[in-house]
Assembly symmetry: C2
Amino acid sequence: MSTPPFLLSPGPVTIPDFVLEALHRPVIHHRTKAFESFYETLCRRLQYLFQTESLTGTFPGSGTYGVEMAMRSLFRSGEQVLILNNGKFSERWVQYGQLLGLQVLELKVAWGKRIDVEQVQHIAQEYPTLTGVVLTHSETSTGAVIDLEEMADALRRAHPEICILVDAITSVGSLPYYHDEWGIDASIVASQKALLNPAGLVAFALSTRAEARLSPTFGGDFANLHNFAAQARLNSYPFTPPLTLLYGVNAALQRMEDETLPVWWQRSQDSARTFREGLAQLGGQVFTDHPGHSLTAFTIPEVDLTELQQHVENTHGLVLAGGQGRLHGNILRVSHMGGADVARMKQLLAGIQAYLVGRVRSS
Amino acid sequence: MSTPPFLLSPGPVTIPDFVLEALHRPVIHHRTKAFESFYETLCRRLQYLFQTESLTGTFPGSGTYGVEMAMRSLFRSGEQVLILNNGKFSERWVQYGQLLGLQVLELKVAWGKRIDVEQVQHIAQEYPTLTGVVLTHSETSTGAVIDLEEMADALRRAHPEICILVDAITSVGSLPYYHDEWGIDASIVASQKALLNPAGLVAFALSTRAEARLSPTFGGDFANLHNFAAQARLNSYPFTPPLTLLYGVNAALQRMEDETLPVWWQRSQDSARTFREGLAQLGGQVFTDHPGHSLTAFTIPEVDLTELQQHVENTHGLVLAGGQGRLHGNILRVSHMGGADVARMKQLLAGIQAYLVGRVRSS
């Protein structure tokens, strides 16, 4: 077979060779000093990733599980929690909050639209009983980002003790992110995004405030973040860890440390800029009015996007993602993480151009 | 470095090369026909593994999460559920049942002791309001098995509609297991056991009765088995799947299909018989009075087991597991799954013998 197609979906991403090699490391038993030493290193590298001196750790699951596990473990039924909704994933956190019995305060704006910091500040001041907030830094369904630093600051000023939970799933590792400096309490990321790994692992950072909110049930409760956090403090795991994935994530974190985070952030930014400049020249439009650099959701007027998607996959071996939920058929999405770099964007733009030219000719 | 140590722990197991190779397959996007076709094949192979024509599927997590997710999704708060407890894991299901608010009926016997079918039958008849049961086929903490066929039959005769959930984590793939023929409703297995894979994936089989017990919350609820089951019916996944692990598990299942299940069962049985015969000659004893063939928990009178464990690891590169919970320091555990075969057992016995001889000489 020829070269396999290259994933340009904003997660899962194509796994680089150095990560694939790490997945081959022999499994060791997890009740050993060797595991503890390995996990200690990995968690220290996660501190670099999240830019925090607080507790970091991991547990098995996809990104959705990560945020839901955090919501379930950090907030109590009846607590008043503000959830900003401007896309498919942030909408999911609203639904999950309602399922948990939280008193959900939803700020809903049109998918892809910018969420105004002043409006959030206004809400925060109007609701003195607010104790938590769930923010989606980068909405994977639309590519929209929020001004996290300003948003967190506004919330903190109104409610010094509010617990700020951030879905950082397509942000950490490709967008500047400062868990401590921005005063975030819980940050969640997933392995199949900027960590360039197979799906299946969640990584977290927890402030002292967030850690204090966790409460023990019993040691065997897999769905309680407390168990993973308490064991991470001991460089240990409450259950058999997904060690192969930990190897892969550790390799990505090591690479990140060697190259430094700003280099990773810049790579995403360069990829995004290259793509968007080329897209504009081809008559395309970025979907959101406030895009981040980890992915671009876009449309090209009067073009059948599904046909375009098929074309670049068939002729250039580049796999784009379509729109989700109500955006199905209306947008395409392209990643700027990892191997989805400037060179790859140029290939993609060439593929799109070839499709558009062919379309004009055949019409 | 020399050959890495070989794991003889009853999960995680050393991953065979053919599985490691499968982990290298390029990740494809999961919202594609190619993924659906792959997952359909995998789920069909899981039907062979569980010996069922009912629904099979997977979700991310370790074995504990598998059973807990099933308990949470199959039983309602207040339901009367019988849980048999004769070891660390079955004890965990009791604790989790209580946490869920089930009306837990616990049959507790000493760790490692046989659970009597007639006693279970008696309880089943005495409690007409019983609607569910959680059985641990093979207790990974002690190596004890229950007579699952007879147990399920006795329960079914007393309560035709009872929902039988089986922790089959160290049984399926190494012990004969017949989900349909034995009338099991929900069977749970984990990837790092007889499936010879990295930890991180749970596989399940659900009878029509079990499926009918699942109820929808909303599509984004990761902790509801309903979502994984409903999507498995469509050969699809509700969230980004841990595809690399699915590749690995698929490779193991394919190998199992090619070699046939009875060959796998026989391999475990031969390994167990070889080890136990040799152990008896060395003065050792099997811990439980009702051992299965997927692992052996054992002791050797007047021998420092931790020192013995260190010796076989250092001199023979064979990693045994110690006892868990209250059995810590009192037993060692050896796997009979996968590469822990007859040849490996002979190496282990030689290692134990060398230790015992050295000990006599130096005393």
